[in-house]
């Protein structure tokens, strides 16, 4: 179903921070001040994780990892999401700014189903499934996360891209009110990412709307984000508001920021170091010893064929 196309400068009433959010913050600060003494030497010196709603009707997906899940607390408080701040604990602290209901996603470019879709219209025709994936950050730490979402391929097929579409491009919301990190230009906004069509259609690639059985929290990219488990985490763009089908390779934010350090492909590769640090090992969050990083983050059997004949040291 199509809804009216909104212009980027339109301010919807939903974008205005409701007074409840301010009050919540005040209450949080007050509780924090009162409890600070008691909390000083306990491990509780952590921001509140946030509210989630359990997701229903989720089926177990076929992909899982035989490794212990990362602590939910860690996965929802240690985040890279520069739209909510550049520190690891900024996203959870600023999460309350990011209101995600209502949410729309613009579909455009070389595609039959172009238009503006509500979150529900984009996701609900598909069956939600849970998949446990490894997540490897380009900063050499990793997690194991039970995502809830839908295969991107199913959504793409429903939207019917034209034969000339070779790439899929994604954009994150730009709204300095809901995303206070965007007040400064730490990165050129909007955050952009892209996949080759065969990567986007790969069965491992998913659009995630939740994790740990519950709806996605703002700090993790609510309400809808990409998950591409064989690529470094920054490829898995968060809080998506636009999906475009293009003939040319689309721009990708970190690649624009520093092309020598972040390639378009950014497949997890222990043999190609980041210019400033080694990618041979990673620290799994919650573990003391580093573990060796696996080619394609351990998904080589599924995806290595996508890159047959390509020089991965040049197409990093």
């Amino acid at each position: 179903m199509l809804i009216r196309k909104s212009k980027p400068h339109d301010i919807r009433s939903s974008e205005i921070t409701p007074s409840g959010a301010y009050m919540d913050r005040r209450r949080f600060l007050a509780t924090g001040a009162a409890g600070a003494g008691a909390v000083l030497f306990s491990g509780l010196f952590m921001p509140t994780v946030g509210r989630t709603a359990p997701l229903s009707g989720v089926i177990k997906g076929s992909y899982t990892v035989d490794e212990p899940l990362t602590d939910k607390e860690a996965a929802t408080t240690y985040n890279n999401f520069y739209e909510l701040g550049t520190g690891k604990d900024d996203p959870v602290e600023n999460a309350h700014y990011l209101k995600t209901d209502p949410w729309t996603v613009a579909i455009d470019g070389l595609v039959k189903g172009a238009g503006t879709y509500s979150f529900e219209d984009l996701i609900h025709p598909h069956k939600l499934e849970e998949r446990v994936y490894r997540l490897r950050c380009v900063e050499a730490w990793s997690m194991v996360i039970p995502w809830v979402g839908v295969p991107l391929a199913d959504v793409i097929r429903r939207l019917e891209p034209q034969g000339s579409a070779k790439y899929v491009a994604f954009e994150t919301l730009v709204d300095p009110v809901r995303m206070p990190g965007q007040v400064r230009n730490a990165l050129p906004w909007p955050y952009r990412e892209g996949l080759r069509m065969d990567e986007a259609l790969h069965p491992l690639t998913m659009l995630a709307v939740g994790m740990y059985g519950e709806s996605m929290l703002p700090q993790n990219g609510a309400p809808i984000r990409l998950v591409v488990p064989w690529k470094y985490g920054f490829k898995s763009i968060k809080s998506i508001v636009r999906i475009s089908f293009t003939e040319e390779q689309p721009p990708a934010t970190w690649n624009m920021q520093n092309p020598r350090e972040y390639g378009f492909y950014s497949n997890v590769n222990p043999d190609v170091d980041h210019p400033r640090w080694s990618q041979a090992k990673e620290r799994r969050i919650g573990e003391f010893f580093k573990r060796p990083t696996l080619p394609f983050n351990g998904y080589g059997e599924d995806v290595a064929s996508l890159y047959a004949g390509m020089d991965m040291t040049k197409n990093y």
Binding site: F41, S42, G43, F45, M46, D71, E73, A74, A75, T77, Y78, Y82, T86, K88, D89, E139, W141, R184, A186, L187, Q257, D273, R276, W277, S278, A280, K281, R283, I285, G286, F288, F289, K290
Partner: protein, 205 residues
């Protein structure tokens, strides 16, 4: 400004306690799970932050004396400098022990391949002779002039420390920028002072 004798006696113990507080605080957080999801990174970063802060505080004491005429800043300068070395040593230990767990080949590769680690290591090495010659006996042995010459290495260490921070940041340069501005101001004050002094000498001639 003459100081009451009680303040004089309390100055060093008070400064010592203050300087030790960040280490105790971070240690307490580490043992109570208060360092977040990646405590090793938090500890390494935290110790590095404090090493740089103490280095800059140490460099601020001479200008502070010059501007205010107070005597006490210079009396705690050695202690502050040694604390900068202490935090730098904890920072390096955290990297060697907790981050790399004595993987010497990985550490060596880091030092030669990663410019920010090369600079960080060089900065630490520059601090070693300063810490080693910090005793009164060493000042006497070296002689004031040579000791002073040697201790100018602290300027290189300050610049190296700020560069080290700059080079490891991915996109948000605000924090290293603050350190850079403070360092530039402290070194700038010294340059201005020298230039003025030279000008005054010339006028006198």
């Amino acid at each position: 400004m003459p100081m009451p004798s009680i303040a004089k006696r309390l100055l060093k113990p008070a400064v010592f306690t203050l300087c030790l507080a960040p280490a105790l605080w971070m240690g307490a957080l580490a043992f109570t799970g208060g360092l977040g999801a990646n405590p090793i990174e938090a500890l390494t970063r935290g110790m590095g932050d404090w090493a740089l802060r103490f280095l800059l505080v140490g460099l601020a004491l001479t200008p502070l004396k010059g501007i205010t005429g107070w005597g006490w800043p210079v009396r705690v300068r050695r202690m502050i400098g040694l604390f900068a070395f202490f935090y730098a040593a904890l920072h390096l230990s955290s990297y060697v022990v907790l981050d790399q767990f004595f993987d010497w080949s990985a550490i060596w590769k880091d030092i030669i391949k990663r410019p920010y680690i090369t600079v960080g290591m060089a900065t630490f090495i520059a601090l070693i002779p300063l810490a080693a010659t910090s005793t009164n006996a060493m000042v006497r042995r070296l002689g004031g002039r040579r000791w002073k010459m040697l201790h100018r290495l602290v300027y290189a260490a300050g610049i190296g420390g700020v560069f080290h921070f700059f080079m490891l940041v991915k996109a948000d340069l605000r924090e290293p920028m603050i350190y850079a501005v403070v360092l530039a101001a402290l070194l700038g004050w010294r340059i201005v002072t020298i230039v003025r002094k030279n000008a005054a000498t010339e006028r006198a001639i």
